[in-house]
Amino acid sequence: MPQARALENIRVVDFSWVRAGPWATRWLGAFGAEIIKIEWPESERGRLPSSTTPQHLEVNLNTSGNFADTNVNKKSLSLNVRSAKGLEIVKRLIAISDIVIENFSSRVLQNWGLGYDELCRIKPDIVYVSMSGYGHTGRNHAYTTFGPVAQAVSGLTHLSGLPNEPPAGWGWSYMDDTGGLYGAMCALTGLYHRNMTGRGQHIDQAQMISSVPLTGPALLDFTVNGRGSKRPGFPPGNRAHWPGTPLMSNYRGPTVAPHNAYRTHPGGYNDWCVIVCHSDEEWQRLVGVMGMPAWAEVEKFGTVIGRLEHQAELDAHIEAWTMTLGKYELTEHCQAAGVRALPVQSAEDRVEHDPQLRDRGMYQPMEHPVLGTNKVQNAPFKLSETPAVNQLPSPLIGQHTQEIIEGLLGYSHAELRAGFDDGTFWPAKRPRFPYLEDMVR
């Protein structure tokens, strides 16, 4: 018996592009919703530019590896929504759909004639999720974001780095990943509410604003205690506290030592591990794992206050020991003794060397018509009744145009061909991929 899907029979009209929106609909697709991604090759952003096309393939609309991982579980409809005919078609699609989701700038859908009021006229209980940079209201609604800018403006970037150095920030668009999760959560809560009450709504999610609640304790330290986060020793890097500065919370958890990253053997770029002791007992276990070295038995290291006070010396001793072991070996020794330690893992480490991710099936091979068989990232949760398992590889651009136009919307084959001729389904002068040629036969 095929497994049930949590979002069986839910259809999503997905205008999203680049990363944050597509990351949202990836998950709705994993839960079993039918995701119809509306794309147009002339204004596509997500497939191109591509820095993740395999070296042996030509860079084109269908060869981005990152697009392929971000867009599993979707169908692609190539459609010029900026034409009258294209707009009419997309309205027919919305009329038989449950969710409309997009991550354009704040006025784009409205300017196309697809603002929330119009969406309601087409489908009265539609759940409309907009995922713009700054939201659809407010004086700066027209501002644009990328992940790094949303992270900077919201305060997230400031929380990352070493004291007295520039912010290290985030080495990727954390708020494209996380903004995508909020987009998915908004869609799901809106859908739940619709199923319970029969009413749809517009949910106005904003990337920059979604970042702000992720700095909650730092904000409360200011609004309640008046303490700002521009102060000596903050942010304290990987430590819970920077030596020589006043003891105070760093908003990550308990203020303890050791709490740091240490180099491991053989000293390569990602040969690091982290070790944290939350209590004196955990520290004594670490001393045991290290073989009870004489330096560690000194009284000043026996208490959390002593270890915080002599943290620089403590960290130097610990690193002299970690340098003698590989990061996985060190992790096993520590964890076997009840000491908190894990390796710093690169992408290669996660895919190839992480025994836990392997055991849990985090990266499962999937066949893609152009890219071949590659590992695709799975869901970080296992649902007992409705597994969120990847079903469809990422679509080629326009791959499902015929299926949707003829099969779902009931247009004739002649109408499909006419739409290819008049530039509704593909720019009239742009060369077509072979699978598109097959469609218009």
């Binding site: 974001t145 900077a152 912010p167 290290a168 998915a184 517009h202 904000l219 990253a261 944290v276 290669e348």
Partner: protein
């Protein structure tokens, strides 16, 4: 109007790993009952504290992550505590728990049995590594997850900025946030499924897997091209060095100034006009910059010299706003508290006044990630005091007499 999850009952047995997930559900209208051990959950011991005076009811971290919840204290390691929990679970839609794998089962509170007694119940176990696998019983922390999840491998400094810098774990507890975002998403999908099927289910969610999924293209770069990315100051990891994007403004605050799509003739002219307004265009108005080849060869000069000097001549907020007004996707690298002066957030009614009646005070809290026009997000109450709702829930809802409640409290069960 009430929130989209009005009418839902969530029992939360969660520490730092899951408390944010309960807040996400509670602020959207669910009745989240936090089940704590007598004396309070240990996250109440995490600072900062109100006026730096530690107390289970004064942790600002706890305040933040536990809005819109009620608190009931129950000792699950006693038969009476378990029986009360089972009665509550029979009234619940969701149980969210973060105990080590197997702990609830060892108490006779296995998820399968809870669900057998309440077939619509969704039980979500959010644990560091999930319910299975060789690392299942490993200990963790936010820093540990940022290491193994791959966040640290992507964050750090250019060698020129900080020689020999370690990989950096961004602060703020984002490993827990990430685990909670995914867990919340899975719970919501299960709830939608239940509206159609009437059936609950068990969710085995892993913080490690959630973090391992949250480094954007890093996995794709490896899977499709075999590349391992390098860390750079304040900008994307990359296979080879890319232009700086973070510049120090006149007031010492940094600005993130990306040039979308890279430098081209059009955006160099746009940049020249913006900078010329301040007399800072340098040679950018020279007609040679109408030649794409010249632009392509001038990246270091335009960005590291002219753009950096322009930004150094103005306060960061001004650079941010004049840049955005010209269509540049730029932003000031603000401290969190600077957001309290952000006019846009005020326009959107972002900040929330949350009353703490026992203190006679109202404090400002951050608001919602999104505005729901048909079912508003709302902080319904400040974080509960330890056991604040024992009487309301155990007597008012389960029908215990106050005498019984007193006896159970004296015995360390409540």
């Amino acid at each position: 109007m009430s929130g989209p999850l009005a009418g839902l009952r969530v029992l939360e047995l969660a520490d730092e790993k899951g408390q944010f997930c309960g807040k996400l559900l509670g602020d959207l209208g669910a009745d989240v009952v936090k089940i704590e051990p007598p004396g309070g959950e240990r996250c109440r011991q995490v600072g900062p504290f109100l006026n730096d005076i530690p107390h289970p009811d004064r942790s600002l971290s706890f305040w933040y992550y536990n809005t819109s919840k009620r608190s009931v204290t129950l000792n699950l390691e006693t038969a009476d505590g378990r029986a009360l929990f089972q009665r509550l679970a029979a009234t619940a839609d969701v149980v969210l728990e973060t105990f080590p794998p197997g702990f609830l089962a060892s108490l006779g509170l296995d998820q399968a049995e809870l669900r057998a007694a309440n077939p619509g119940l969704i039980v979500c176990s959010l644990t560091p590594f999930g319910q299975t696998g060789p690392w299942r019983d490993y200990l963790s922390s936010d820093l540990l997850h940022m290491a193994a999840g791959g966040e640290m491998a992507s964050c750090g400094y250019d060698e020129a900025d900080v020689p020999n810098a370690p990989p950096i774990a961004p602060g703020g507890g984002n490993a827990w946030h990430t685990g909670c975002h995914y867990a919340c998403m899975a719970i919501m999908a299960a709830l939608v499924y239940r509206t159609m099927s009437g059936t609950g289910q068990f969710i085995d969610a892993s913080v490690h897997e959630a973090c391992a999924l949250t480094t954007e293209s890093a996995i794709a770069n490896y899977v499709y091209r075999g590349e391992v990315l390098r860390r750079q100051t304040g900008r994307h990891h990359a296979i080879s060095p890319t232009n700086r994007t973070q510049f120090r403004a006149k007031d010492g605050v940094y600005v993130t100034a990306l040039i979308s799509g890279g430098l081209n003739v059009r955006n160099v002219r746009n940049l020249a006009e913006l900078m010329d307004h301040y007399g800072m265009a340098g040679d950018l108005l020279d007609p040679k910059y109408q030649d794409p080849a010249v632009v392509a060869a001038s990246g270091k000069h335009v960005i590291d010299e002219l753009l950096a000097a322009f930004i150094a001549s103005l306060p960061a907020e001004e650079v941010y706003h004049v840049g955005q007004a010209r269509g540049f996707t730029w932003g000031a690298v603000r401290v969190p508290e600077a957001l309290l002066d952000d006019g846009h957030l005020h326009d959107r009614g972002f900040w929330q006044q949350v009353e703490h009646p026992e203190l006679g005070r109202t404090y400002v809290y951050p608001g919602p990630a999104a505005i729901y026009n048909g079912s508003p997000w709302e902080i319904s109450r400040r974080a509960p005091l330890v056991g604040e709702h024992n009487e309301a829930v155990l007597c008012g809802e389960l029908g215990l007499s106050r005498g019984t409640l007193s006896v159970l409290t004296e015995s360390g069960i409540v």
